[in-house]
Symmetry: C2
Subunit: 222 residues, 2 copies
């Protein structure tokens, strides 16, 4: 009846580190979505993306508070991931609005999937303070609304974006690998059975499957 | 005892137009502050600016609702000011972080001052739906916190930013003039005595005085 996973003890230091990653990811997602919003081709898309960006910040106060309660320094905890996430979020300059949308679709969702998996190991009260943003689902729907009809009518664009999606997802998987290399304590947070290496491999597989399902929503092959 | 100004009748069309300007200005300020946030040199400044950007969107829902209640189409009303405000907010690319801060300080505040004056003519319930953002004061304080100590210790930067401030404020005053040329109905909304031309001239004077006081807070001459 017991769940081996939730019984695992996570040190306060590792909790602070993960909250730092979550907090900086919110700041980064805010910037990414705000930039996308500023490039939107219609007011309604601009407003939807701007609101999603703003929603990314909604939990940052409670994340800060929880870090403090755990004895950490919030800004130091965020700063720890600044160059790692900035380089992830800024890599691969899109050539047009469609590549920009696709890039955010792949990148933002994979980051949220990864953070969602790691967050499961946090004690319930800590996890609640950093609950996965409800905006993710809305963002995926928006991308499908915007890109879906265009891709269905433009085969050339569809094959260009399929190629672009493979490049962006390749980088996203590299980011996930690099995260576990630079912060090996996060390997302990990966849910599932087996040793760290096995759970990490399984996690990367789940991330790739989720990506393939998202591409499928656009009628593309991952 | 009566106030000639508040008794002036403002047509629903003009109210919708002003709300459109206010709404698009919020979207524009959101983008401007979010971009500044993404360039911030410290996490704490980045967070303050990101939060201010998010706060800019807080009233946009009620602005949309009010436009609808007045029989207007919110997105059309916003769209009307898209190219006017985009060109205002994107003009004059800053060469560094300090020029970026100064540009936003001048541009954002002057736009808010202008909108604040025009909004006084709206019926109280309409005005309440678009109440001036409380973030403006916080933004000015942040700029003074960031720039003040640096300018006090770097005479060369201070004179470069004084020059830059004059360029940016010149454009801001041009924007205000252009607004009244392209949307002459807004002249009727300018508070004060005298004919349109006199009230417009007085308004431009007040905007310049407010700017001079802001420069003074930084130890600079406007």
């Amino acid at each position: 009846m017991s769940d081996a996973h939730t019984e695992r003890q996570i040190s306060a230091e590792t909790q602070v580190a993960l909250l730092g990653l979550l907090g900086y990811a919110s700041l980064g997602a805010f910037a990414l979505l705000a930039k996308d919003a500023s490039e939107a081709r219609t007011i309604s898309t601009r407003m939807r993306l701007s609101r999603m960006a703003a929603a990314e910040l909604a939990e940052i106060d409670s994340v800060e508070e929880t870090i403090r309660a755990l004895g950490g320094n919030p800004h130091q905890a965020f700063e720890e991931f600044s160059s790692f996430l900035t380089s992830y979020l800024h890599r691969a300059e899109p050539r047009d609005w469609w590549e920009r949308l696709m890039r955010s679709y792949v990148r933002f969702n994979m980051l949220e999937d990864l953070l969602g998996e790691l967050s499961q190991s946090l004690p319930a009260d800590v996890r609640a303070s950093a609950d996965a943003d409800p905006g993710v689902r809305g963002h995926a729907d928006l991308i499908v609304d915007e890109l879906g009809p265009v891709l269905a009518n433009d085969e050339k664009l569809a094959s260009r974006l399929a190629l672009w999606g493979r490049r962006v997802v390749g980088e996203a998987i590299s980011m996930a690998r690099q995260l576990f290399e630079e912060w090996p304590e996060f390997v302990d947070l990966i849910p599932g059975d087996g040793d760290g290496q096995a759970r990490r491999a399984a996690l990367l597989g789940r991330l790739q499957n989720a990506h393939a399902r998202r591409m499928d929503r656009l009628g593309l092959t991952a």
